[in-house]
Point group: D2
Chain length 216, copies 4
Amino acid sequence: MRKMKILLAAFDPFGGAAVNPALEAVKQVQNTIENCPVAKVEIPTVFHRSIKVLREKIEELQPDIILVAGQAGGRAQISVERLGINIDDARIPDNQGNQPVDEKIVPGGPEAYFSNLPIKAMAASIRREGVPAEVSNTAGTFVCNHILYGLLHHIETEKLQARGGFIHVPFIPAQVTNKPGQPSMAPGDITKALEAALRAAVRYQEDIRSEEGSLH
Amino acid sequence: MRKMKILLAAFDPFGGAAVNPALEAVKQVQNTIENCPVAKVEIPTVFHRSIKVLREKIEELQPDIILVAGQAGGRAQISVERLGINIDDARIPDNQGNQPVDEKIVPGGPEAYFSNLPIKAMAASIRREGVPAEVSNTAGTFVCNHILYGLLHHIETEKLQARGGFIHVPFIPAQVTNKPGQPSMAPGDITKALEAALRAAVRYQEDIRSEEGSLH
Amino acid sequence: MRKMKILLAAFDPFGGAAVNPALEAVKQVQNTIENCPVAKVEIPTVFHRSIKVLREKIEELQPDIILVAGQAGGRAQISVERLGINIDDARIPDNQGNQPVDEKIVPGGPEAYFSNLPIKAMAASIRREGVPAEVSNTAGTFVCNHILYGLLHHIETEKLQARGGFIHVPFIPAQVTNKPGQPSMAPGDITKALEAALRAAVRYQEDIRSEEGSLH
Amino acid sequence: MRKMKILLAAFDPFGGAAVNPALEAVKQVQNTIENCPVAKVEIPTVFHRSIKVLREKIEELQPDIILVAGQAGGRAQISVERLGINIDDARIPDNQGNQPVDEKIVPGGPEAYFSNLPIKAMAASIRREGVPAEVSNTAGTFVCNHILYGLLHHIETEKLQARGGFIHVPFIPAQVTNKPGQPSMAPGDITKALEAALRAAVRYQEDIRSEEGSLH
């Protein structure tokens, strides 16, 4: 079997934060996972421009697996996203001041794309490392969902063989020392989770069966 | 303008519960909203059979607005769902013992449908009554999402003029007296919310602009 | 048996809020509970002055049962407080701008007083009405704890036969329409809870045994 | 100034858990903090016996600072406890099957003792390490509160010069991989927090002023 190439991307800090824990964790991920080389790219927290930057990197590297990581402040666990939906609905402006409300990402595009990475195998692989993880059924309506939809739309319309997905990570402890009650996760555990997710992505072409849907 | 007809549906109790607060609230909703007659139907918490029962009622009554209500235990607010996705992923069995895992609702169907009801106008209308409400970007992967997807697929494939959507409601107080820490909402407020949502659905053909997307 | 007299008190609004749900609920409580007359008093959300106002009312009315109600925004259930502690530690100023930090309420006074009302019987009585309730082991360190400690200190030092306690109530729905995710409780249920608590206070001289302590 | 001696204690696992994260963290704490030797002791999660074991160790070592650590599953932050109260109220049995309900720890003893360690300086010291921490006003009514009350009662009745306190720590990540939604904290951060707390305990004879009380 031909060796796969991995592209791991993360957003820069947004919403006034000094760091983006997803980006810091990505920097620490090993450069080889299951003998597959891992390239990394930082993408801007900006509607549309984020997709353009990612797409250029994909064209340059021709990766087989593309995983993007972003911050989900308030969540206690790693969440592997199931799908991206065709809507931008921003509660705050992005890093260039854009704040689209209920606009299509791709006018005329399909309503949603499901990630073609093995999301349940990835969540299980993370949990085996002792890090809490779950499958999530919404990546929100800000730039995280935007890039996931845009990535999967690119794969579909360009008929790439690549598989793509998105992982949301919690705040790190240093971000919540002034946010009473908010959960957090150590940077080292986030890095470990991303590596475990990539290992599962390399190993599993088809997802595993696991009863962990959401009642609502 | 011709008078609209409304069909309001709710699930029967599930997961071992004695009542379904959504169903109890639906029973108390006024029989006329903004001069439009409101018909009501109870649907079984069963994959596929729920869609069949709802579809038959739609064919019989030819409603212009179809709103389904279901329970979202653990949520503190009314949530107006934005979309249904093409997946069944059940954490528990339905009322007939079916527990599909990662199965398409409609094989070959689109990945998702967005509700064509004015979801933000509905949430705002509910809040004006003093009842907390929000737009939700996931109806889960159990029968609530199933019926929403199935309803919107029926409207699309039958080329109906109707508009359809789904509202999730919290536990009622009596359900949480033995569930420490769980939020709840009074049955009267749930009824008031459904009426307010239907009023907005009658009045607004197009949704309002409101910055209340989700960061994740 | 001589008929008991009840004094029911609640704070005025604080922290910039327009209403205090505890006060609104108190106003709706029946004027007779188990044949016992219920007097009501509004007390200022002000350190020390609140105790003075309550003490004057106690001297005037000579009640057998004194119950104070206050708001605990963010809690999902009615909580019957177990004790008041001898500390003022204010995160925000009171209604007259006082903000004591780590000051004794009564210098030289005992560290704490346990309520001598039947707190578990009260919580159980509330739950029997279908309203969620629990015993709480902290009333915080703001004016709610202050009045509870002050009330019990007054009973002790004046050697009154009276019994006293405190109940925290959630936000009402109208307060959380702009606070996404916050739980709330209908005003009618809060009133029902206060009445149920007072019924238990009249009926039970000694508390019931109920395994509902807190692990932490 | 004479060199202080520190005694650091933690409970063994309870409630069916395989590990107690507080105990694991204690084992990793440095053996010298600010030039003060740190002795460690594991205490049984058993009412009364826990106090006996701790008291014997205190008599043997004559420490100046005694800090006990326990698990508070569900909390997202380190919490430095303000006080212990004179009540045992167990929701579950301890490790020897005892389940006292509303019993005094010390019949005739004071209702509560406030920790005489500098709790706010300790919380601030922990936060400076980038680990979230807060002052808590309840240690519950199980063995954690029991040992804190018992420790402070021992110091008071034996007229020791020692200072004593208690710190609650969150679940560690490996404990919550099957508890969706529960927050956790990395073992290394818990260890870091305990060391930071002890540093503050050595340095501060009097607590700092910090506006971080609880509204309720």
